[in-house]
C-alpha cells in the first residue's frame, strides 16, 4: 500500500510545476501616507486599502492586524508570552510603550469603526488588542474589490522586539493597520474559506496576502530613509520632506529612518557574481544546463544603510549578500525584485537586529567583530545571509509563520548552514583547526531532549526553548538528514522543485513533504512522520566489540574422546596460551544498536589490526544487529555510521568501540594534557597581580 501511495505522490509532484505562478495573485493594494514626529514618536497615518475577496463566499466582516498594540501594555499576549524580553533584549516600560489606534475606517462613505471590536482567536486574551474585527454593512461579494479609507494614530515603541526606536533610529516593521488573510477553500489545504488573522505573538508575525504598495513618508529632512520599495518622489517643505516609495508584488512593507545612516551602494551582477564552480555544481546536480540556470538572473541593486562606525563591515555584508543572491538563484530560483536593502542596526538597538521583511532586512555589525581574531567570526555574514534568505522562505515562498514557524525559520536555517559552510568554512578557526561549522552548531539540537513535534503553532510549544529548537536547528538538521538519505541529486531536485512550485504562493508543510517524498524513499517518509508529527529520535551505538584467539575446538568429541585437554584430574591444567604469540585466526563479536524510533540505514565498519576495514550496511530496522567475524588479524575497532550521515544521532560518542588489541595513541591523554596547561595558564595569570 505504502509504495502505491508513494507512486501517486511522485506523479502528483511531476504535475505540480505546471501550477507555479509567474506573478503572485494580487489581493491587496495599499496607498499609505504617514508622518511621524521623532520627538514625540507619534505617527499619523492614512491609507487607502483596496481588498479583493479571493473566495467564492461573501465576506461580511474584515480582520486587521494592529501589531504595535502588542507593545501597548503588559497585558498583551505578546508581552505575556515574551515576559517583556525577547532574544536577549528587554522592554523598557513606561515611555517605551507603543500602540496603534484606528480612528476611522470608511467604506462607501459609511464609518465602520464604531462597530469594530478586538478579537483574540488564539488565546482568548480579553486584553489583547492586536486583531481588530470590523463588521461590514453588507458583505464583500466574491471577486469584489472593497476600497477602504483608513486613518490611524500610533506611537512608536522603544525597540526591544523587532520594531521601534532608539534615539533617532527608527525601524518601522508591521507598522500600519494590515488586513488579515481571508483564505479561500483549498488555500493551504483548508476545506472551508475563512479568516486567518492571528494575534501578534512573541514568536511569529508573518502571513499576509500579496499586493502593491505606495507609501509616502513625511519626516524631518535630516533623516535618511531606507524602505522595501523604490523611491519615486521627493518633496521638501518647511524643514520636512516627503518621500514616496513603491513596491509591487510583496506582502509586507517595512522602512527605517536614521539621520546617521551612511548609504553604501553596490549591485549584484550575475555575469561576475555567480561563482563558476557553484553554477557547475548546480548544473550537474539539478540536471539543468548552465544557460537554463542563468536565464532568470538579472542585476540587483544593493543598498546598505549602515551606522557610520561600521565601515569595516561594508565588504563583509555585501559579499555575503551577493553570495546569497547567487546561491538562492541557483538552488531555489532567481531573485525577482530589482533591489534589496540591508539595514545595519545600531549596537544599542539590537532588538531590531536580524529581522526579515520583504526586499529589506536588518543585519548586525558589532565593532569588536572587526578586530582580530573575531574577523573570522562570521556572525555578521551569517545574519545577512539568514535574513536575506527569509525573503524566500516566508517571503517569496509565503508560508504561514504563525502556524508553521519551521517553514520560515527551519528551511531558512537549512539554507543558511549550506550557504555559510560552503563560503566560510568553520567559525573562528584557531590553530590547529579549533572551530565549528554552522551545520555543527545547529546539529547540537539533535543531542538534546525534545518536548514537541517540529510542527506546531508558534505559540503552542511547551517552552520558549522548545519553540526555538523546533523552529530553527531541529528542522534545519532534519532537512539535512533527508538530504543525506536521498542523496544530492534527488534532494536538490526536490528542493528546487518545491521552491519553484510554491514561489508567489502559500505552501503548507505537506506541500514541502510531497516533494521530499516524491522519490518514494520509505525511510524519508517515515522520518517526516516521526519528526514533524512526533518527537522521534535515534541513537546508534556499538554495544560490544570483543576479539579473542580462535584456538579451535576443546572438550569431548562425539566419541567422548578428549580434545585439546587432559581429563586426568591429577595433572595440572595446561597454561593458557599467550595471546601475544597467537598467530590467528581471531574470533570477534560486535553488537550494534539503534535506540529511539527513527529507522534509517547505516554503515558498520570493522577495522582489523592489519589495517583492513570491512564495511557492511545495516538497514537499522531492528533494535540491534550482531556481527560474528573470524579473521586472520584481531579486530581493533568497530564503528557505526563512520561517514557521520546520521546527523540526527543523539549521541555520536557511542558510535565506536575499541578492543583490547587497539594500540593507537590516547585522545584522553592529549586532551587532559591540554586542559592541565589551560589551568596552569589561568593560574599563572595571578603572577601578574599577586
Amino acid at each position: 500500500m505504502k509504495h502505491i501511495a508513494f507512486a501517486a505522490a511522485a506523479t502528483l509532484a511531476l504535475a505540480l510545476p505546471a501550477a507555479a505562478l509567474e506573478t503572485p495573485r494580487k489581493i491587496v493594494d495599499y496607498d499609505i501616507r504617514v508622518s511621524f514626529d521623532p520627538e514625540t514618536k507619534i505617527v499619523e497615518g492614512s491609507e487607502t486599502l483596496k481588498w479583493t475577496n479571493p473566495s467564492d463566499a461573501p465576506v461580511g466582516e474584515l480582520r486587521f492586524h494592529l501589531y504595535w498594540n502588542a507593545f501597548r501594555n503588559d497585558r498583551s499576549t505578546f508581552f505575556k508570552e515574551s515576559g517583556g524580553q525577547l532574544r536577549g533584549d528587554k522592554a523598557e516600560t513606561g515611555k517605551g510603550w507603543g500602540y496603534t489606534d484606528v480612528t476611522s475606517m470608511k467604506w462607501d462613505g459609511a464609518e465602520l469603526i464604531k462597530g469594530a471590536r478586538f478579537e483574540s482567536p488564539d488565546d482568548g486574551n480579553p486584553d489583547d488588542r492586536t486583531v481588530l474585527a470590523v463588521p461590514l454593512p453588507r458583505p464583500v461579494a466574491p471577486g469584489e474589490t472593497a476600497t477602504l479609507a483608513i486613518a490611524w494614530k500610533a506611537k512608536v515603541p522603544k525597540v526591544y522586539a523587532r520594531a521601534g526606536y532608539v534615539r533617532d533610529f527608527f525601524m518601522f516593521g508591521q507598522w500600519f493597520p494590515q488586513i488579515g488573510v481571508y483564505e479561500p477553500a483549498g488555500r493551504r489545504r483548508r476545506t472551508d474559506a475563512g479568516w486567518n488573522c492571528h494575534q501578534y505573538h512573541a514568536n511569529s508575525e508573518f502571513y499576509a496576502d500579496w499586493g502593491d504598495w505606495r507609501v509616502a513618508i513625511t519626516l524631518p529632512e535630516k533623516f535618511v530613509v531606507g524602505s522595501a520599495g523604490a523611491l519615486v518622489d521627493t518633496k521638501t517643505a518647511g524643514g520636512k520632506k516627503t518621500l514616496t516609495f513603491e513596491q509591487k508584488a510583496v506582502h509586507n512593507f517595512a522602512f527605517t529612518a536614521d539621520p546617521r545612516y551612511v548609504v553604501v551602494e553596490d549591485a549584484f551582477d550575475p555575469a561576475k557574481d555567480i561563482p563558476k564552480d557553484e553554477i557547475a555544481l548546480a548544473s550537474r546536480t539539478l540536471g539543468r544546463s548552465e544557460a537554463e540556470l542563468r536565464a532568470g538572473f538579472h542585476k540587483v541593486a544593493i543598498k546598505l544603510y549602515r551606522q557610520p562606525e561600521h565601515g569595516a563591515f561594508d565588504r563583509r555584508h555585501i559579499e555575503a549578500q551577493k553570495w546569497a543572491l547567487a546561491w538562492t538563484g541557483l538552488w531555489a530560483f532567481p531573485y525577482p525584485y530589482a533591489q534589496i536593502s540591508i539595514v545595519d542596526t545600531p549596537e544599542d538597538g539590537l532588538g531590531a537586529t536580524g529581522m526579515e521583511y520583504e526586499t529589506i532586512y536588518t543585519t548586525v555589525s558589532l565593532k569588536w567583530m572587526s578586530r582580530w581574531p573575531f574577523t573570522r567570526l562570521f556572525v555578521p555574514e551569517t545574519v545577512t545571509i539568514h535574513e536575506f534568505t527569509h525573503g524566500y522562505w516566508m517571503g517569496l515562498v509565503a508560508s504561514n509563520e504563525f502556524e508553521e514557524s519551521w517553514m520560515d525559520e527551519g528551511i531558512n536555517t537549512f539554507t543558511e548552514l549550506v550557504m555559510v559552510d560552503r563560503k566560510y568554512g568553520t567559525y573562528l578557526e584557531l590553530p590547529p583547526g579549533i572551530g565549528v561549522t554552522n551545520e555543527e552548531s545547529n546539529r547540537v539540537s539533535a543531542l538534546t531532549q525534545d518536548h514537541d513535534p517540529i510542527l506546531s503553532s508558534s505559540w503552542k510549544y511547551a517552552t520558549e526553548n522548545s519553540y526555538a529548537r523546533n523552529s530553527y536547528p531541529q528542522p534545519g538538521t532534519t532537512i539535512q538528514q533527508i538530504r543525506r538519505l536521498l542523496g544530492e541529486q534527488a534532494f536538490w531536485r526536490a528542493f528546487r522543485g518545491y521552491a519553484e512550485r510554491w514561489r508567489f504562493d502559500h505552501p503548507t508543510s505537506e506541500d514541502f513533504f510531497d516533494f521530499m517524498r516524491a522519490s518514494g524513499n520509505p525511510v524519508v517518509a517515515a522520518l517526516i512522520q516521526k519528526t514533524w508529527y512526533g518527537r522521534g529520535w535515534v541513537d546508534f551505538s556499538i554495544l560490544t566489540a570483543t576479539t579473542r584467539p580462535d584456538d579451535g575446538f576443546t572438550g569431548f568429541d562425539d566419541a567422548d574422546k578428549p580434545v585439546n585437554f587432559d581429563p586426568d584430574p591429577k595433572k595440572k591444567p595446561p597454561e593458557k596460551p599467550d595471546e601475544k604469540k597467537h598467530k590467528g585466526p581471531w574470533r570477534s563479536l560486535v553488537t550494534v544498536s539503534r535506540d529511539g524510533d527513527i529507522e534509517m540505514p547505516v554503515n558498520v565498519a570493522l577495522t582489523f589490526k592489519d589495517g583492513t576495514t570491512v564495511k557492511r550496511t545495516w538497514d537499522g530496522a531492528s533494535g540491534w544487529i550482531k556481527y560474528r567475524v573470524t579473521s586472520s588479524s584481531p579486530l581493533v575497532k568497530a564503528e557505526v555510521d563512520p561517514e557521520r550521515r546520521a546527523v540526527l544521532d543523539r549521541n555520536p560518542w557511542n558510535n565506536a568501540r575499541f578492543t583490547k588489541k587497539y594500540e593507537g595513541p590516547s585522545a584522553a591523554a592529549k586532551s587532559r594534557t591540554y586542559a592541565l596547561h589551560l589551568v596552569e595558564i589561568l593560574l599563572s595569570t595571578l603572577w601578574g597581580v599577586l
Binding site: 547540537v444 568501540r657 592529549k670 587532559r672
Partner: protein, 329 residues
C-alpha cells in the same frame, strides 16, 4: 633589568619552587579532568582528536557532558584558590631568599621564611584588595557611571561611550599598577624587616615610592610584558605542536612545563629587579622595628654597596628608632 636577569638565572632553584607551586596547584584539578576526558578513548572521535581537533566531536562532548564539566570547573576554581593562597604565602619566602642572596638550599628555607611572614602578607593582600576596590570604585566605576549618564542618548561607538570604555581600561590599569606596586613594596618591606606588620609596611612602601612612581611602574610593566611574551610563545607553540603519539604528548607536557618554569624565572627576575630599584633609596643602615617593639640592627653588605653608588648615604645623625621616619626626613 640586568640585575633581574642575572638573579633569575642564579636563583633558578627558587624559580623551580614557584613552578612547582603552579604545577601542584593545577594538579588539584587533575582527577576531575582525567575523569572528564576518559571517555574520549572509548568514543568515535578518538582517532580524529589524536589527528587534530574534531569540531563536532568537541562540540558534542561539551554539550553532553555538562555535569562532568561542572565538577571539573569547580576543581579548577579550587586550584585557583589554592594557587592564590600559595603565592601569598611564598612571596615572603622568595623575597627573603633574594635579599639574603644565597641561592641554595632553597626549598626548606622558602617554606620556613614564608611561614614567618605569612600572617603579615595575608593582611597586606587584604589591604591591597581593599584599596584596589576603593580606587577602582572612585576612579573607574564612578566616572564610568557618570559618563554613561552623560552619554545616555549618545549613539554607541561615539566619543562619550568610547571615552567610558577607554577610561575603564586605561585608568583601571593605572590604578592596578599603582596599588599593585605599593603592595609589592610593602611585601618587600615586610621581607626586609622594615616593618613588622602590614600597616607599617604600607607606610614604608609609600615613602619608598614617593617621587619615583613612574620608574617603579616601568619595572612592573617590563616584567609583565616579558611574562606575557613567554606565555604567548609557549602557548602558540604548544598548540602548533599538536602531538599525535603518546610520547609526543609527554614531550608536549615537558615542553610546556619548561615554559612555565621560564615564567617563574621571570617572576623571580621581577622581584630581583624591584629589590634593586628599591635599594637605590635605601640608606647604608636601616632600622628595623618600632620603638616599642625593641630595636634590632641589621646591615647588609650588598645593600651598603649599592646604596653608596646610587643614593646619598645617610649617617648616624638621621638614624631614628623608626625606619620609616628615617626615609621621610
Amino acid at each position: 633589568m640586568s640585575r633581574g636577569f642575572s638573579t633569575a638565572i642564579r636563583h633558578r632553584r627558587l624559580a623551580g619552587v614557584l613552578w612547582l607551586s603552579l604545577l601542584a596547584s593545577a594538579l588539584v584539578s587533575w582527577f576531575p579532568l582525567k575523569k572528564l576526558f576518559q571517555p574520549m578513548d572509548e568514543g568515535a572521535f578518538r582517532e580524529a582528536l589524536v589527528k587534530g581537533w574534531d569540531g563536532w566531536g568537541f562540540l558534542s562532548f561539551l554539550v553532553s557532558r555538562g555535569p562532568e564539566i561542572g565538577v571539573a570547573l569547580a576543581a579548577v576554581t579550587g586550584a585557583f584558590i589554592v594557587f592564590a593562597l600559595l603565592q601569598i604565602f611564598l612571596t615572603g619566602g622568595v623575597l627573603r631568599i633574594l635579599i639574603d642572596g644565597r641561592p641554595r638550599p632553597v626549598f626548606a628555607r622558602v617554606v620556613a621564611e614564608s611561614a614567618g611572614l605569612f600572617k603579615a602578607n595575608l593582611w597586606a593582600t587584604a589591604r591591597f584588595a581593599l584599596t584596589a576596590g576603593i580606587w577602582m570604585a572612585l576612579l573607574v566605576a564612578v566616572p564610568v557611571a557618570l559618563l554613561g549618564k552623560l552619554g545616555k542618548d549618545a549613539p554607541p561607538n561615539t566619543f562619550l561611550p568610547d571615552l567610558a570604555f577607554w577610561w575603564a581600561v586605561v585608568v583601571g590599569a593605572v590604578v592596578l599598577l599603582n596599588v599593585g606596586l605599593r603592595f609589592d613594596l610593602a611585601r618587600v618591606a615586610l621581607a626586609r624587616g622594615d616593618a613588622r606588620n602590614a600597616r607599617g609596611a604600607y607606610r614604608v612602601a609609600k615613602q619608598s615610592l614617593s617621587g619615583r612612581r613612574l620608574s617603579g611602574i616601568r619595572i612592573v610593566l617590563f616584567w609583565l610584558a616579558l611574562g606575557v611574551a613567554v606565555q604567548a610563545v609557549f602557548t602558540s607553540a604548544g598548540l602548533r605542536i599538536n602531538p599525535r603519539t603518546n610520547s609526543a604528548v609527554t614531550g608536549l607536557l615537558v615542553f610546556r612545563q619548561f615554559g612555565f618554569f621560564l615564567l617563574a624565572m621571570v617572576r623571580v627576575g621581577f622581584w630581583a629587579a624591584l629589590l634593586a630599584w628599591e635599594e637605590r633609596r635605601r640608606p647604608a643602615y636601616s632600622v628595623i622595628g618600632s620603638a616599642s617593639g625593641g630595636t634590632t640592627w641589621k646591615s647588609s653588605e650588598e645593600i651598603a654597596t649599592s646604596a653608596a653608588a646610587s643614593a646619598s648615604p645617610e649617617t648616624g645623625s638621621s638614624v631614628t628608632t623608626n625606619g620609616s621616619a628615617l626615609l621621610s626626613s
